[in-house]
């Protein structure tokens, strides 16, 4: 049996055994991350909705957003990546991800990683809740957090669009979920050391965007640019799809940010409002810069501005006043324009769909500005905070994401391989990887 398959087989046997032996009777002890559920029906209703919204951000939001931006011969393959990642991460989250991120293992390890106490949803029952969300059934908390675990790696695909092997993708994502996503989520949200150091990240500026953005940059540099980058015609095949995708991202982001309040209350409401104000301000400032630099305001520019603003407000959404959200959004437009357009063209790396330029840099900016604008007047849980704490959280996230992603890429390179052959790249991934094509 090939080495990778042995691991899958062991996990498979373990899963079936655990499933078969799931005991039923009453009054079971609570795991260390759990409390008895104190059902908050308003919060639960909202969070079920928010879960759907965030899932929609990936399927089909990101699929369409990215799909429309690649060349026609790769659109199906690009969408396939989104669906495959969603499926893969769902199973991984069930097997180990949730437990590693939000479980509690040993006290000694808790600052760094959770345990395997909740692997395969062990101990999770209809009457339990995670201590972070006492009013939500734990199944719901699990599901909501799953949608974040799904979209984070899905964002990375933008960096290596149009040249990644499918087998390499699957292995990469499996390793990345366990070694990068789960730990970082644990550090910031799951009771780990960054959360304890008062690093503020309301909805995932670091956990999702800086994390995936930096990983994306490392991937783009490691894999190298697409054949013909800078010379050949690589214009988006259909900006209508990209528009629909961006709109789904915008609406879905309401679930992403307002849902991170975990409740149906004022904090969720200010997060909602901030999630609309910031992207609109960013769209206008991006458009202004582009109009001046390039002579015409573009649709893609407006859409990218919207996304940049959404990314930047993500760590801040439930911590800052609406006027601060407008400022954060307005600043993120030109800053992300500089990183996605100017910096990339200057340094000539092929971060194809600007995973780093928009998500990495936008998340970084947003995280820093969260340190500036967070206020207890909006959210009483805002305690000691500041730009230095935010910078600390960013440095840790960036270093770990970069380092671990690099190691994972090495592993993939020497096992599954990472990059398609030049012939496959020229003919297009739709047909060469998946045997499918668009027909008129």
């Amino acid at each position: 049996m090939k080495p990778g398959y042995r691991a899958y087989a062991c996990v498979g046997v373990g899963a079936v055994t655990a499933w078969g032996s799931a005991a039923a009777p009453a009054a079971q002890p609570l795991s260390r991350h759990q409390v008895a559920l104190q059902l908050d029906t308003g919060a639960t209703a909202w969070m079920i909705t928010a879960t759907a919204l965030v899932l929609m951000m990936t399927l089909p939001g990101l699929a369409l957003f990215y799909g429309g931006m690649v060349r026609r011969k790769n659109i199906l393959a690009t969408m396939t990546q989104q669906v495959a990642i969603s499926a893969l991460v769902t199973v991984l989250w069930f097997l180990v991800g949730y437990s590693l991120a939000f479980g509690v293992g040993s006290d000694a390890l808790q600052p760094w990683i959770g345990g395997l106490d909740a692997a395969l949803l062990n101990g999770v029952r209809p009457d339990t809740a995670h201590n972070l969300a006492k009013g939500l059934p734990e199944y719901l908390f699990f599901a909501y957090q799953l949608t974040f675990a799904i979209i984070t790696p899905a964002l990375i695909t933008g960096a290596f669009a149009e040249r990644m092997k499918f087998t390499g993708l699957l292995l990469f994502m499996t390793l990345w979920h366990v070694l990068v996503y789960a730990p970082v989520a644990h550090w910031v949200w799951g009771g780990g050391f960054l959360g304890k150091a008062n690093v503020l990240d309301f909805a995932g500026g670091s956990v999702v965007h800086v994390n995936s953005g930096v990983a994306g940059l490392v991937c783009a540099l490691f894999l190298g640019p697409r054949r013909g980058y800078g010379r050949e015609m690589m214009a988006p095949n259909n900006l209508v799809y990209t528009t629909i995708g961006a709109a789904l991202l915008l609406v879905g982001w309401i679930g992403f940010n307002a849902g991170s309040a975990g409740a149906a209350d004022s904090i969720a409401s200010v997060a909602l409002l901030n999630t609309i104000l910031a992207p609109m301000a960013a769209a206008l400032t991006w458009m202004a810069v582009e109009w001046r630099e390039r002579g015409k305001p573009t649709l893609l520019g407006l859409l990218t501005g919207v996304v940049a603003g959404l990314v930047a407000i993500t760590p801040a959404a439930g911590f800052v006043e609406p006027k601060a959200a407008l400022i954060i959004g307005a600043v993120s437009g030109p800053v992300c324009y500089a990183s996605a357009v100017w910096l990339k063209n200057r340094l000539k790396y092929d971060d194809s769909l600007d995973a780093f330029g928009v998500h990495g840099v936008g998340g970084l900016l947003g995280a820093l500005l969260t340190g500036v604008f967070a206020t207890a007047a909006v959210n009483p849980s805002v305690g000691e905070h500041g730009v230095l704490q935010q910078a600390y959280g960013l440095v840790v996230t960036i270093l770990w994401s970069a380092l671990a992603t690099f190691v994972i890429l090495l592993v993939c390179k020497h096992t599954t391989g990472l990059r398609v052959t030049p012939e496959q790249e020229i003919e297009g991934l739709d047909y060469t990887l998946h045997g499918e094509a668009l027909h008129e």
């Binding site: 015609m233 690589m234 214009a235 988006p236 390039r294 015409k296 573009t298 893609l300 520019g301 990218t304 996605a340 357009v341 100017w342 990339k344 063209n345 600007d354």
Partner: protein, 112 residues
């Protein structure tokens, strides 16, 4: 019989079609094409990445007519398709060896 092939700007199709109908041309074939001549392409910019698109959309019209109608057809197309700006297109006239109506099997000028 003569075949007249005309590359024209797409928005001129209706005018050309009407002009041909006026002189008694019964049918035509229209093909979507792209091309360039002295009219260079244009550039599009996506997030700062500039792409020069050499090819412009064009239409190719083909009609086959009896020899005595050919010069009228050329004149009609020329007048209808001209804008005076670069990229108006070109017309080619060639000899047709044989023509057959599929439904009836007729050949020659009565087939067109």
């Amino acid at each position: 019989m003569k075949k007249i092939e005309a590359i024209i700007k797409p928005f001129k199709l209706d005018e050309v079609k009407e002009a041909l109908q006026e002189i008694g041309v019964q049918g035509m074939t229209v093909i979507e094409a792209k091309g360039y001549g002295r009219q260079k392409g244009h550039s599009e910019t996506y997030r700062g990445a500039e792409y020069v698109v050499d090819f412009l959309p064009k239409l190719k019209i083909e009609v086959v007519v009896p020899d005595d109608l050919a010069s009228q057809v050329v004149e009609a197309i020329t007048n209808a398709a001209r804008t005076g700006k670069i990229g108006d297109g070109k017309i080619f006239v060639s000899q047709v060896q044989e023509a057959i109506r599929i439904r009836t099997g007729e050949t020659g000028p009565s087939a067109i």
